[in-house]
C-alpha cells in the first residue's frame, strides 16, 4: 500500500500543528464559535449530543495492521474503547474530549493518518472498491487514482468552502462495489484504445433528495483527470446554490440546469483550464498541468502487489480439498466460507470479509481488542493489510486458502466470525439518535431488534442475499435509499417513526427504493420486516431470485398489501 514520503508527512504534520493552534485559540476565546466551526469541520470534528465526534479518514478504505493497532490504542486511550466504521470507510470516535483532539491527530500522524476533510463543505475522504487490487473483475486498481485525488483535494485552497459537502468514489470494476452512482462524482476506470481512461458520473447522492448520478464524460484521458475534476468543482463552486443548504449539493445544480447544460458548462471550463495550463507553463512555471504517463506509472508502483506464493495447480487443489473437508466437519466454518470468501486474482488466495454485524454491537462498531486482534491476524495471514468496506465491515485482502480454517478460528475467538455477509442481518446503519445530533430517530436499536428477530441462520441463508439499510434521518448516512429494504427515521411532533421503502439497489444497476406507505412505530419494525420476508419467500420464482429481484419483477404492491392490509 501507499507509504507517505517526507512531503506527505510534512503536510499532515503541518495540518496537526495548524489545527492545534486553531483549537487553542478557540478554547482561549480568541476564535468565535462561528469562525471555529468550519475549521474544525474541515478536520472531521463535530460537537455532538454527548461529546465531540471525531471522524478519522481511512482513505479508500485501506489500512495497515500498524494503523489499525494505532486506532485501537487511540480508541482505548481517548474514548470508550471502541470505534465505529462508517459507510464512507471512515472510523468515528464518539467520545473524545475537545482538548484531546490535537493529541489524537498527532498520534494519527505518526502512522500516516489524519482527519483532513472528513466533514465540512469540502471534498471529503475519497472512497473506493474494498476489493481494489485483488478483485478478479478489475480493469485497473482504483487505489493509485484515489491517492492522487486524496493529495490533490487535501487543503485545496480553492475548494475549502463549497456550497455543500462533496464526495468522490472510484471503482476499477464493472461490478462497482463503490456505489459510484450515488456520489457527487463517480469515477469508473476503463481502458480506451489500450490506455487507462475514466467514465465520469456526476450529481448522484442520497440525502433528502436522492438522485442517481448521470454520465457526463466517457473515456476521459488519464492525463486530464485533475483538470476535469477541477472544471466540475469550479462550476459547482461558482454556480451551486448557497441560498438553501438542502438545495446546495451538486445534484441539485445538475438537475436545475439539466445534464446537457451542465455538461456544456463543465466542458467549456475544462477547455479553458487546459488553455490556462499552457499559458501558465509558457510563463515558465508548472501549473495545474497534465499528469504524465511516467507519473501514473510511479503512482501505480506505490501500490505493489505483496509477495504472494505462486502455488502450483496441485497445491491449490490440495488446499481447496482440505478446506472442503474441514467445512464438511464444521458447519459454522462452512457457512462462514459461503458468505465471507471472495474470489481472488492470485490463485490459491482469497479475500475474506469480516462481519461487524454480530447483533450484539452496533453495526460497524469494533472494540479496541477486536481491532488489535484483526491487526494481528492481518499481520500473520494477510500481508499486514486490512480494508474497510462501505457496508461497515472489514476485509482481509490476501489470505491463503490453506490458512482459512486458522483465520476462521481466530476470528471466532474475537467474536468476529458471524457468517452473515450480504444477508439480512448484515445491516448498514448510521449511529442515529443515540449519538448524532442531526438524527430524528434511533438506528442502532432498530438494527438490533431486526437482528435478534432473524437469529436463525438456516432462515437467513434461506432468505438469501439482502441489503437492509437504516438511516436515523434524511441525511441518509445509512444509505436507506439504495437498500433492498430501506428504513428511515422520521420525526412526527416529537415522536420517532420509521418509513420503510423497498427495491433500492447499488452497484452498476443502482436504483432508488420506493416508499411502501405510512410510517411505523419503532416496535412494529421487526414485524414489518418479517412480513416483507414472508411475502418475498411466497412469491419468489426460485432461490436464485433475490429479494430485490422479486421486487423489481412484481413491483411493490404485493409487499404493501402484506404489510398494511393484513396488519389490520
Amino acid at each position: 500500500m501507499y507509504q507517505y514520503d517526507s512531503f506527505d508527512q510534512a503536510v499532515v504534520d503541518a495540518r496537526v500543528a495548524q489545527f492545534a493552534n486553531q483549537t487553542e485559540r478557540f478554547l482561549k476565546g480568541e476564535l468565535s464559535e462561528d469562525a471555529y466551526r468550519p475549521l474544525r469541520l474541515q478536520n472531521g470534528l463535530y460537537l455532538q449530543k454527548h461529546a465531540p465526534m471525531l471522524r478519522i479518514a481511512i482513505p479508500y478504505g485501506t489500512l495497515s495492521a500498524l494503523q489499525l493497532s494505532a486506532l485501537a490504542d487511540i480508541a482505548s486511550e481517548f474514548d470508550d474503547g471502541y470505534g465505529h466504521f462508517s459507510t464512507r470507510q471512515n472510523l468515528q470516535l464518539n467520545g473524545p474530549r475537545l482538548e484531546q483532539v490535537p493529541a489524537i491527530l498527532r498520534r494519527l500522524a505518526t502512522v500516516q493518518m489524519h482527519a483532513i476533510q472528513t466533514s465540512g463543505n469540502c471534498i471529503r475522504n475519497v472512497t473506493a472498491d474494498h476489493l481494489a487490487g485483488v478483485a478478479i473483475d478489475e480493469v485497473a486498481d482504483p487505489r493509485p487514482v484515489a491517492e492522487l485525488i486524496r493529495q490533490w483535494s487535501s487543503l485545496h485552497p480553492e475548494f475549502l468552502f463549497l456550497p455543500r459537502k462533496f464526495k468522490i468514489a472510484i471503482t476499477g470494476s464493472s461490478a462497482d462495489r463503490a456505489a459510484i452512482a450515488v456520489h457527487d462524482i463517480g469515477l469508473g476506470l476503463r481502458t480506451s484504445n489500450g490506455e487507462l481512461a475514466f467514465d465520469v458520473f456526476v450529481g448522484g447522492g442520497l440525502g433528502r433528495t436522492p438522485i442517481i448520478g448521470q454520465h457526463i464524460r466517457a473515456a476521459l484521458p488519464k492525463a486530464q483527470l485533475l483538470n476535469y475534476l477541477e472544471a466540475i468543482l469550479r462550476v459547482y463552486n461558482l454556480h451551486g446554490r448557497r441560498d438553501n443548504m438542502y438545495k446546495a449539493r451538486i445534484k441539485i445544480l445538475v438537475r436545475e440546469l439539466g445534464i446537457s447544460q451542465f455538461t456544456d458548462a463543465v466542458e467549456k471550463e475544462f477547455s479553458s483550464i487546459l488553455a490556462d495550463a499552457k499559458k501558465i507553463s509558457a510563463m515558465g512555471t508548472t501549473g495545474p498541468g497534465l499528469i504524465r504517463d511516467e507519473t501514473w506509472d510511479s503512482l501505480f508502483q506505490n501500490f505493489p502487489v505483496p509477495a504472494c506464493e505462486n502455488f502450483s495447480e496441485s497445491e491449490i487443489a490440495a488446499a481447496e480439498t482440505s478446506c472442503i473437508t474441514h467445512a464438511a466437519a464444521n458447519p459454522g466454518f462452512s457457512r462462514w466460507l459461503q458468505r465471507s470468501r471472495h474470489d481472488h486474482r492470485q490463485p490459491g488466495y482469497a479475500a475474506i470479509s469480516i462481519s461487524l454485524k454480530d447483533g450484539v454491537q452496533a453495526p460497524g462498531d469494533c472494540t479496541s481488542a477486536q481491532m488489535h486482534g484483526v491487526a494481528s491476524i492481518a499481520s500473520q495471514y494477510s500481508f499486514g493489510e486490512i480494508r474497510v468496506t462501505h457496508h461497515q465491515n472489514l476485509v482481509l485482502p490476501y489470505v491463503r486458502i490453506d490458512d482459512l480454517p486458522d483465520v476462521y478460528r481466530q476470528l471466532q475467538d474475537l467474536k468476529l466470525a458471524s457468517p452473515n455477509i450480504g444477508l439480512l442481518t448484515d445491516i448498514i446503519a448510521c449511529p442515529g439518535g443515540d449519538f448524532c445530533s442531526l438524527a430524528n430517530a434511533v438506528s442502532i436499536p432498530i438494527a438490533k431488534a431486526i437482528q435478534s428477530s432473524f437469529d436463525d441462520l438456516d432462515e437467513l441463508f434461506e432468505i438469501g442475499p439482502l441489503e437492509l439499510n437504516i438511516s436515523g434521518c434524511m441525511n441518509s448516512c445509512g444509505h436507506h435509499h439504495i437498500g433492498h429494504i430501506g428504513i428511515l427515521g422520521v420525526d412526527k411532533k416529537g415522536e420517532s417513526f420509521y418509513q420503510v421503502s423497498i427495491g433500492g439497489n447499488q452497484g452498476p444497476d443502482a436504483r432508488l427504493a420506493k416508499i411502501l406507505g405510512p410510517s411505523f412505530a419503532e416496535h412494529e419494525i421487526p414485524d414489518v420486516v418479517e412480513r416483507l420476508i414472508r411475502c418475498y419467500l411466497g412469491l419468489r420464482e426460485s432461490k436464485t431470485e433475490r429479494f430485490v429481484d422479486a421486487v423489481t419483477r412484481v413491483g411493490i404492491e404485493p409487499f404493501k398489501e402484506a404489510v398494511y392490509v393484513s396488519a389490520d
Partner: protein, 171 residues
C-alpha cells in the same frame, strides 16, 4: 475598525470607495468602483481618477474585467460570508485566465485562518475585522506550510506523488 494587511504587515488603505456619490472624490484619488459602475462608466473614471479599482461581488464574472485589465490597479473581492467560497474561484480566474497582475484584496467576511488559502488563490491584501485578527493572520502567514496543489502562488512546486515528488525532494 477594520485593518488592512498585505502578506508582510499592516498597510494604510488609500482607496476611496465610490458608493453612488462622486462629490467627495477628486481627480487625485484612487477610486474603488462597483463592477456595474466600471462597466457602465469605466472610461469616464479612468480619465478622471488617478487610479481605478473595482469590487467584485460573489455573482460577478471576473472575465468581464478583461477590457480594463491594463488600467486596474486594485481588484477587491467581497466575501458575503466566511463559508461562501466563490471568491476563491473568482481570484484564480482573475489571475490565471484574465491575467490580472495588480493588487487583489479580500474584503468582507474573512478571518485570520482564511488568509493562507486566499494567498494561495492569488490575493495580496486582506481587510480584517480588527487588529488582533490582523496580528494573528500575519503570524499564520509566516508559518512554512507545505501544500500539495500548485495554485496561483508557488506554481513552481511539483506536488504530484511519485516520480515528480521524488525528484523535487532530492533537488
Amino acid at each position: 475598525m477594520s485593518v488592512l494587511i498585505n502578506t508582510t504587515g499592516i498597510v494604510k488603505d488609500s482607496w476611496k470607495i465610490f458608493d453612488g456619490d462622486a462629490s467627495g472624490i477628486i481627480a487625485a484619488d484612487k477610486c474603488l468602483l462597483p463592477v456595474g459602475e466600471l462597466l457602465a462608466q469605466g472610461g469616464v473614471w479612468i480619465n478622471h481618477a488617478k487610479q481605478v479599482g473595482v469590487v467584485l461581488t460573489p455573482v460577478d464574472d471576473p472575465t468581464s474585467l478583461t477590457p480594463y485589465l491594463t488600467r486596474l490597479t486594485l481588484v477587491a473581492i467581497h466575501f458575503t460570508a466566511l463559508t461562501d467560497g466563490r471568491g476563491y474561484s473568482q481570484a484564480r480566474l482573475l489571475r490565471q485566465r484574465v491575467g490580472y497582475t495588480g493588487d487583489l484584496r479580500a474584503v468582507g467576511q474573512i478571518g485570520a485562518d482564511q488568509v493562507l488559502p486566499l494567498t494561495r488563490c492569488g490575493f495580496t491584501e486582506f481587510e480584517l475585522a480588527d487588529e488582533q485578527t490582523a496580528v494573528t493572520a500575519l503570524q499564520l502567514i509566516k508559518l512554512q506550510t507545505p501544500v500539495y496543489q500548485s495554485a496561483v502562488v508557488n506554481t513552481n512546486i511539483v506536488p504530484l506523488p511519485g516520480i515528480d515528488r521524488a525528484r523535487a525532494l532530492t533537488a
